[in-house]
Amino acid sequence: MAFVKGLMCRECGREYPAEALNVCDYCFGPLEVVYDYATISDVISRERISQGPLSIWRYQDLLPANGDDPVDIMAGYTPLIKARNLGKSLGLRNLYIKNDSVNPSFSFKDRVVSVAATKAVEFEFDTLACASTGNLACSVAAHAARAGIRAVVFIPWDLERGKVIGAAIYGPTMVSVEGTYDEVNRLCSEVADNYPWAFVNINMRPYYAEGSKTLGYEVAEQLGWRIPDHVVIPSASGAMFTKIWKGFNELACLGLLDGVDASSFGPDQNTVHHPAVTTKMHMAQAEGCAPIVTAWANGQPHVSPVRPNTIAKSLAIGNPADGIYAIRVLKESGGSAYAVPEADVVDGIKLLAETEGIFTETAGGVTVSALKNLADSGAIKPDELTVVYITGNGLKTQEAVEDVVNPLSIKPSMGAFEDVISQRIAVGGR
């Protein structure tokens, strides 16, 4: 049973029923879910959550879809790991990694898509659709398979192999569009207007986006119902960034955090800031597509769209839907935003792999490099509790790091082996 009152426009406050809508008819502003927090606070407790499934659906009271029979391939409840080695190399003693690269379809998108798919089934759609540069396509195809409905995924023709196969394997209708990024965007907006499909990030968007709140809930629960001093988050549309913040604030307002008194949500639930939520929110984007970072750095009141040109394709959103709201969160939390030089992205991937044994994709490389910048600049102090969100898996963007393959090639003889191994050891190599 979902505790949803309806939808509300983030710009003008007009209310709408909880249907398959995403834009306000009057001002074209985005719609957001409104909850019945009074009832939620009567039923929710740490104990109730801890008895729930080991997936995002343990937080079903705070999700906008019916959790009794969700489309669940076990998204979420991913490991939170104390990063001793990475921490040591960065001079941070209290660093944790939220490893969301181990979700069922290998990215955090499973969280948002599980909610969108559940909602699509509730609304009786027979097709789940998206336009994606990879992770979203994989997740939509996987969840549609689980739900037993059709998937239609649009991808740009030049996508990495790991992402194409990672989506195609679930049997969706895959449309590979020969065109620029802008053209794919335009085509898909038009398709969404003309086909009665559940487009996860278009007509399902208000519900879909809420799935990312679970990245906030889980970290708090895994830290023993505490929230970090700092979080570092990769951003594309900016939605996840705003939702993690919302998740922390909801927990605080509901009195679920250690030593924090419950408080009311106020009239605009989506901008509520509980004074006990002192987490500094740090955003990471790649230099080749950093519209939110640029707007933040220049103190602009709005985000100017850019044409993406980055190896971090999963972060390549030139016209971010939630950019302006992400900037509000940056301001409210006293956070920061950093554009990672393109050349540092791969270094970030390698640093994480070599210190912690976690292989992330380019988006994770961006995040680790941003973390390094925050540590080097002293923005994060050595003992502050810091969580870095690793949201996608390295197997999907193998092309970015092909140069790591440098084996000792030998004939099958002991002599040949001893020759090369002694040389390698002599130069201190691995």
Partner: protein
């Protein structure tokens, strides 16, 4: 065929002073309906709806892009990571 389209225009410096939306209405016979806007000295954006013949809407948007205005869907990019 008649149609409507919701778009966001973003424009820089010198274009702020141009009567772009007026010309769009006049030259392409479109009804322009502004829903939200923020226009400053050095840049601005306008969220609006265009009503008219579909080919004229397309021609109008092509003209707007050609003079240097950025045209986007109103609710951000739909293609995602």
């Amino acid at each position: 065929m008649m149609g409507t389209q919701r778009v966001k225009f973003t424009f820089m410096t010198q274009l702020v002073k141009e009567p772009i939306i007026y010309q769009l209405g006049q030259n392409f016979n479109l009804v322009t309906n502004i829903r939200r806007a923020d226009v400053r000295e050095d840049m601005g954006w306008v969220v609006l709806e265009l009503d008219g013949d579909e080919t004229e809407i397309q021609r109008g948007l092509d003209w707007v892009s050609a003079i240097g205005v950025r045209v986007d869907p109103v609710s951000g990019d739909v293609i995602e990571g």
